[in-house]
Chain length 220, copies 2
DNA sequence: CTTGACGGCTAATTTAAATTAGCCTATAAT
DNA sequence: ATTATAGGCTAATTTAAATTAGCCGTCAAG
């Protein structure tokens, strides 16, 4: 990774930990292993570093619009999978979604940075909302819609069902962002959540089969 | 309200909008209607203003530990109410919780400030988590536990049930904090969420009675 | 009625951090 | 082999914001 890129990378790390205003260009430089004035060979000023990060974020968000998908496959393929989804696969969906958000290095740092900086700039607040609220709800809503049509799940209100699936995941995510030590606990809660979700929304017949006595586990 | 208090108040407003580092003491002073140096007659420095806000926050949090309750009554009284709660009352519970968090002026500004500043200071992150995640979950968990014992609701896992109740409320709250224009939509979603929650978790017999044909509304 | 402390002001001063100036070296292209 | 450029450095300089100095009017207590 060249210096210019490393500056972005280290800056993002620092911004995500302390927020833009609390990071000095000297801090960024030090991490990169150069002196502050050398940064200016690469970026016009501190703001330009921030802007470049946001630009990269937008690029990645676009590119990874597919990352919410179960396998990275496209929506049409996913749809096929979801029509016949099992409880274990639903748990996998939840876990993948959660772990992707939690562990993907860029995603995690971007999210934390946006959490801090969102109130400076309407655009950032909008980006946060789109990426972590509206897009997941709408994509998952679409998938759950398919599952309802195909009879795997049943509900009178797919949007609320989707909220019931995603809101706990979102909340667990905000917990882990603040306190990474709670990750293990959060993963357990995740699994219990998805199991209960499935029990609540699965079609009754299927419900009868699946509710009791099954070896749980298997998260991957 | 005397000057000393007004400083705290205006500072909190500004900190909640822009974050500590982006607010100048001159901004605070201007809003109070004095000049920056006059602030120093009341507080040692900028940090002392922030600290005083946090201190006041802690005091209020303590004092308002009861604010999550349905009527401001204490837990024992609440317990009686909850044993016989109806769907409409559950909606009222959700709405009250949500509207309290959303509209109480101090609560709202504190929360937004904590959202921004939490990453500077482990203590603030902890305060945020306690106030907006762990305490609500534990208090509501207790109430739902009572409702399960008394047979109003049924579940095998009260904690997850509580998460299913509160996580959507939490998420709607974060939406409104970022974009107050979505409040109306959020309130509708809230009600639909609680209705569906009730349908999912209500005892079956009760379920049969309540599910269909009832005049909805009535939020207060 | 006078005094002292409270709370305001303007005009410095300090401080911390960003940014610029200007120099040096290595390397890659002519 | 020369030279231009990229990218590093140290030593200023600038800038913005916090903070301090020191003055003044009001008003309540003695």
């Amino acid at each position: 990774m060249d210096t210019k890129q490393r500056i972005l990378d280290e800056a993002l790390t620092l911004f995500s930990e302390k927020g833009y205003a609390n990071v000095f260009v000297a801090d960024i430089a030090e991490r990169v292993g150069i002196k502050a004035p050398s940064l200016y060979k690469h970026y016009k000023n501190k703001q330009a570093i921030f802007d470049a990060i946001i630009e990269e974020m937008n690029r990645r968000f676009l590119e990874e619009a597919g990352a919410l998908k179960i396998n990275g496959a496209d929506a049409a393929e996913d749809a096929e999978i979801y029509k016949h989804i099992s409880e274990e696969q639903l748990i996998t969906l939840g876990n993948n979604l959660f772990l992707y958000f939690l562990h993907d290095d860029y995603t995690r740092r971007f999210r934390k940075m946006l959490t801090i900086e969102q109130f400076h700039d309407k655009k950032l607040a909008a980006a946060y909302m789109k990426q972590y609220v509206d897009d997941p709800l709408s994509y998952q809503g679409m998938l759950f819609g398919l599952m309802v049509s195909s009879g795997v799940l049943q509900t009178e209100n797919v949007e609320i069902m989707t909220l019931h699936f995603y809101a706990p995941i979102y909340m667990l995510l905000t917990i882990c962002d603040r306190d990474p030590e709670r990750e293990k606990e959060a993963l357990k809660t995740m699994e219990a959540h998805v199991r209960q979700f499935n029990k609540l929304y699965a079609r009754d017949e299927k419900n009868m089969q699946n509710n009791k006595r099954r070896s749980p586990r298997r998260t991957k």
